[in-house]
């Protein structure tokens, strides 16, 4: 490469010291340079370089290690020079990749040498080789402490470099208090200040809790004004890092940074002397200043802001000026500032004029001959595309970007081009972009195919105006890059086809055609099997795709497919029997053959057996019910988008978020929202998991619930059925007899409850624990009282919108019971996790017994009241089998948890339990008596509730029957 620095030339001669340079043939050893050479070290390094094999090298190293070890262990005290030489050899051996397990003590000894060169080698060894938990750390810290106190700037710098290089917690503990003092002390030398600033930065990064803000912080900010450019350059990195964590404390840095920047930008290239780099004034400092400003919003002070805008304009203007040098260093330094300025403009996102100028500038770079600039321009434009001010300007470069995708020779540049196309996509150019991405996929590098597939799938879904285009696109995806089409993608096309009846016929026709190809991808078979099983009837009128033709086509693929696909096909077959009675005999034949009904895979065998049975014993009506068309999927957020976000990390697909705000309802493919009331489901990170029921029940899930008991016989061995309704009440019954515990838990979230009740009032504390390391965005939790429940209960909640990774959020519900009630309030929780919307509805464990006031009474009293409550509607009774332990103490604990008084010596039968209590509501008080009669032999209970209100007796009886 043509660089300004003379490229190092291997083997060039150095005439000034020829005598120390042995001939290249024998030992390759350059002249030992200035300062203090270690001849023994040079010889050793030459030896190593002359080793012909790895074995020879190891042998030589072991010999040397033995030698050093014996020297260190020897009786004769080594002088400083030898110690230094051996420590240096050890370091060299370590850097070659070998382990070193001794010499640390000698290195530590060197630290306290008063000879600079020995100290320096000691520190180098420590920096490279000592890990934080070393026992020597105390000795090392001691040596550092002495050097810091020495007031010798060279020694102080060495010590500071060592702290910065090691950066361990122990060092932070020892020095985090001292270094700020050194940094801001008036008499500290500039070079020491520079080291101190960056040393402190390193400590702050490793142990932020140990670096305490204080009086020094304001003085650090003023280092931005320091005369010495090097001090500013070092200090600003520290200030930037501290500002990110404590923006308020450091906000005065904004105006200081702007004026410093302004001075640099307007200076002539020679003004800054050695801080000018290839005619560019202070490029590193400029970049750091622009970076610091990105920690803050645009300056509020009009004058400061005006000055800053002026700077940014000057930087943009300079980009148009002819270069002052042809050297790449000149243009790199200049453009580094330009890109940093553009980042700041994008960060502010408030100056349309600057945004458009930035975009035009990047547009020029898109065609630059330097690959590096093209790469950066593509990358930077991606963020510009998400600004409403520059989105249109970015779009004008579409042809150039498409061209880059096609012609760039470097895959990393092509990847950037693909990212940018994705970012600039909207309804107006979606068809063109999707088509280009599809055609690129045919030759795309394997490393980026999966991501490309996801992107195409997302764009196709998001911007589809007609669904046939969407279906075509996805089937093309499968055709072109079937191996890279993840489950999410083909699940999604099925969800959408199921949810949109206007595309079902087209989808059936298209998959049918796609399946004609002699070799088609297994994912195509899956989609085809599923869609024909649901909607094959829509094309069955055409003799070319008659039911039997469809079946034979599908079945021709069967034997080449994996087990899950075959399972899916079997389900499609049973659906065929329902759709097309004329195929029944053929399909039963297939199911009956040994390879199905005796398949070694248990899932396949089970399906074959059950489907065969179902088709032979169930009436047409039953079949029609069981095998009904799938109901629409309730999920709203694309799981593919979630997957892409997960792949790229949060924030990577910000563009689509922006669009989500803008898009109109008409283009939304997943029509669940339009199709019925907003349903709430528990969406785990892979919401499609039960889509086809491959691993749980046969895909008759939700239809089966409607068919009720008719199916019980046929499917008595089948797995659990998919939950039909979205409300999760798993935890609900566990809280009837207790007030505290975990209500719900999945991979992301844990919800705990603590509650207390008095009279007709209650307070419930809900604890939302984020089990992930990522923050939940837009976290809302709302409590609703369905039906007329709100006239019985009052709940008042508020909640913060963020639940940070690993953090817990608490919500307090104040509850007032107005009158008795049976239903429970619903708790709805929504948040975004890694982009995917999570929606969860739980039954809040709030039951009427929580408002019990226990009533103590004697036997006589009890039975007297018992008799008073003898109207048939006042009593509720259940006889049921024991589900839990019948141990007396367990039962007692549960009854006590219920909230009534447990009355001893009341019932003549000591095995029985009786309780009394009054339900407190605002409207009235309801007296209640309870009698529980266990029958240990039969493992049964009889539970009787009597109260002055029929609804209360009934509700309590229902709740309690589940508890024992």
């Amino acid at each position: 490469p043509s660089n300004a620095a003379p490229p190092p030339r291997p083997g060039r001669r150095r005439p000034q010291r020829p005598q120390r340079r042995p001939s290249r043939r024998s030992i390759k050893m350059p002249a030992v340079s200035k300062g203090d050479g270690m001849r023994g070290l040079a010889v050793f390094i030459s030896d190593i370089r002359n080793c012909k094999s790895k074995e020879a090298e190891i042998k030589r190293i072991n010999k040397e290690l033995a030698n050093i070890r014996s020297k260190f262990k020897g009786d004769k005290a080594l002088d400083g020079y030898s110690k230094k030489k051996y420590v240096c050899k050890l370091l060299f051996i370590f850097l070659l990749g070998h382990d070193i397990d001794f010499g640390h003590m000698e290195a530590v000894n060197l630290l306290s040498s008063n000879k600079y060169t020995e100290k320096q080698i000691g520190y180098l060894f420590i920096s490279v080789l000592v890990n934080s938990n070393s026992e020597l750390i105390r000795l090392i810290n001691n040596a550092i402490k002495n050097d810091l106190a020495s007031r010798n700037p060279t020694f102080m710098c060495l010590a500071l470099h060592c702290i910065a290089n090691v950066g361990s917690r122990e060092m932070a503990e020892a020095f985090a208090g001292e270094i700020p003092r050194i940094l801001v002390a008036g008499d500290t030398m500039d070079s020491v200040k520079q080291s101190a600033a960056l040393c402190l930065l390193r400590l702050y990064k490793t142990s932020p809790d140990l670096v305490l803000m204080g009086e020094w912080t304001s003085r650090v900010v003023h280092l931005l004004n320091d005369q010495h450019m090097g001090v500013v350059t070092a200090a600003i990195s520290l200030i930037t890092c501290l500002s990110q964590k404590n923006p308020d404390e450091f906000k005065t840095c904004v105006s200081l940074a702007v004026s410093r920047l302004s001075r640099i930008v307007s200076s002539a290239s020679t003004d800054l002397q050695d801080y000018t780099y290839y005619f560019v004034p202070a490029p590193w400092l400029s970049c750091k200043l622009l970076r610091l400003l990105q920690c803050y919003p645009p300056p509020e002070d009009g004058a400061v802001k005006g000055r800053l805008v002026e700077c940014l304009e000057t930087i943009l203007n300079k980009a148009q000026e002819p270069p002052k040098s042809k050297k790449v260093q000149h243009s790199n330094a200049k453009n580094a500032i330009l890109f940093e300025a553009i980042s700041l403009i994008i960060h502010y996102d408030s100056e349309p004029n600057l945004l458009v100028r930035a975009c035009n500038q990047l547009g020029q770079f898109l065609q630059h001959r330097e690959t590096n600039l093209r790469y950066l321009a593509l990358e930077s434009m991606c963020t510009l595309a998400s600004s409403e001010f520059s989105h249109e300007a970015v779009k004008t470069h579409i042809e150039t970007v498409i061209n880059a995708l096609k012609t760039e020779r470097d895959v990393s540049v092509r990847q950037r081009a693909a990212d940018l196309l994705y970012a600039m996509c909207d309804r107006s150019n979606a068809k063109q972009i999707v088509a280009e991405m599809l055609s690129y996929l045919e030759t795309a590098d394997y490393s980026i195919r999966e991501e490309m597939v996801l992107k195409v799938a997302i764009l196709a879904e998001k911007y589809a105006v007609d669904y046939s285009w969407y279906v075509d696109t996805i089937l093309n995806l499968i055709r072109i890059a079937g191996d890279y089409v993840s489950e999410e993608v083909w699940y999604r096309v099925i969800q959408i086809v199921i949810n949109r009846d206007d595309v079902q016929g087209y989808a059936a026709k298209t998959v049918f055609e796609a399946l004609q190809a002699p070799a088609c991808h297994e994912n195509m078979v899956k989609v085809g099997g599923y869609i024909l099983g649901e909607f094959g009837n829509l094309i069955a009128g055409d003799p070319r795709s008659s039911p039997l033709v469809q079946f034979n086509l599908l079945h021709s693929k069967f034997h080449l497919c994996s087990v899950p696909t075959r399972a899916l096909l079997l389900s499609a077959y049973i659906k065929f029997i329902n759709l097309f009675p004329e195929t029944k005999a053929t399909i039963q034949e297939v199911l009956r053959c040994d390879s199905q009904i005796r398949n070694s895979d248990v899932e396949l065998q089970q399906r074959a057996v059950e489907y065969l049975k179902l088709s032979s014993i169930a009436s047409t009506d039953v079949l029609a019910t069981v095998l009904e068309e799938m109901p629409p999927f309730p999920e709203r957020e694309s799981s593919i988008l979630a997957k892409l976000k997960k792949k790229k990390g949060p924030g990577a697909v910000s563009v689509s978020d922006l669009d989500e705000g803008k898009r109109d309802g008409g283009g939304e493919l997943n029509g669940a929202g339009e199709r019925g009331p907003e349903s709430s489901v528990v969406s785990t990170p892979s919401p499609s998991a039960d889509l086809l029921g491959l691993r749980s029940a046969p895909p008759v899930g939700s239809a089966a619930q409607g068919a009720g008991s008719l199916l019980v016989d046929v499917f008595s061995e089948a797995g659990p059925l998919a939950p039909a309704s979205g409300v999760n009440d798993d935890g609900f019954l566990r809280f009837v007899c207790k007030n505290n515990g975990v209500l719900f838990e999945n991979q992301l979230l844990q919800i705990g409850i603590k509650s207390e009740y008095r009279q007709n009032l209650g307070r419930m504390y809900l604890f939302y624990g984020n089990k992930t390391s990522v923050q939940f965005v837009n976290f809302t939790s709302t409590v609703s009282c369905p039906g007329d429940l709100q006239s019985h209960i009052l709940c008042t909640p508020p909640v913060d919108p963020l639940v940070e990774g690993g953090a817990q959020l608490q919500q307090v519900l104040n509850i007032e019971c107005l009158s008795d009630f049976s239903d429970a309030p619903l708790l709805n929780i929504r948040f975004r996790y890694g982009g995917a919307l999570q929606n969860l509805t739980l039954k809040l464990p709030l039951t009427i017994n929580k408002f019990f006031q226990p009533t103590e009474m004697g036997s006589q009293d009890f039975f007297q009241r018992w008799k008073q409550l003898s109207l048939p509607q006042q009593e509720a009774q259940k006889i049921f089998k024991a589900n839990h332990s019948m141990d007396k103490e367990v039962l007692k604990a549960k009854l006590l948890g219920l909230g009534m008084a447990l009355l001893e010596n009341v019932d003549p039968n000591p095995e029985n339990f009786v309780c009394a209590g009054v339900v407190q509501t605002k409207a009235q008080q309801v007296g209640c008596l309870l009698r529980l009669e266990p029958n240990i032999q039969a493992q049964m209970y009889r539970l009787t509730l009597r109260s002055s209100k029929d609804t209360v007796s009934k509700r309590l009886c229902d709740l309690l029957a589940e508890q024992f």
Partner: protein, 149 residues
């Protein structure tokens, strides 16, 4: 900056500087992976690449590759010039530097780097100032030598 590696065309590591705490095992793994990745790239390719969640900036000078790992918000072009400035510093100090100088005087290469970059950030970008600091240190050594020998 998270780390800087210098390695030869043959994949031999010549200098490594880590600004984040990593175990030796991780360091070796990263080095192996990156050396392979960078050596596999063709000459006219872009100097930047995404690697794990870092950005790699590299440049070849004669037989040596200089390779820096920076974070997402860091500036690629200025990092390229950090590399160049370091090469200039080495060049000035050794007087037309070559790979052999760095092998035989690795400790000097580290000292120069520490004066220029500290904790992964530019500490002193003035070539004069960096070299002045190094030369002063060398002077201390010469003085000691003359004094003691």
């Amino acid at each position: 900056m998270q780390f800087m590696l210098l390695f030869s065309r043959q994949g031999k590591l010549r200098l490594q500087k880590w600004y984040v705490p990593l175990s030796d095992k991780e360091k070796k793994k990263i080095t192996r992976e990156l050396v392979q990745t960078v050596l596999a790239r063709k000459p006219k390719m872009c100097s930047f690449l995404e690697w794990r969640d870092l950005k790699i900036v590299y440049k070849r000078y004669a037989s040596l590759y200089f390779c820096c790992a920076i974070e997402d918000q860091d500036n690629e072009l200025i990092t390229l010039e950090i590399i160049h400035r370091y090469v200039e510093l080495l060049d000035k100090y050794f007087g037309s530097v070559c790979e052999l100088d760095i092998i035989f005087n690795f400790e000097k290469a580290y000292f120069i780097l520490d004066e220029f970059l500290l904790g992964g950030e530019a500490q002193e970008t003035s070539k004069k100032n960096v070299l002045k600091a190094i030369e002063q240190a060398d002077l201390l050594q010469e003085v000691r030598h003359n004094y003691f020998l």
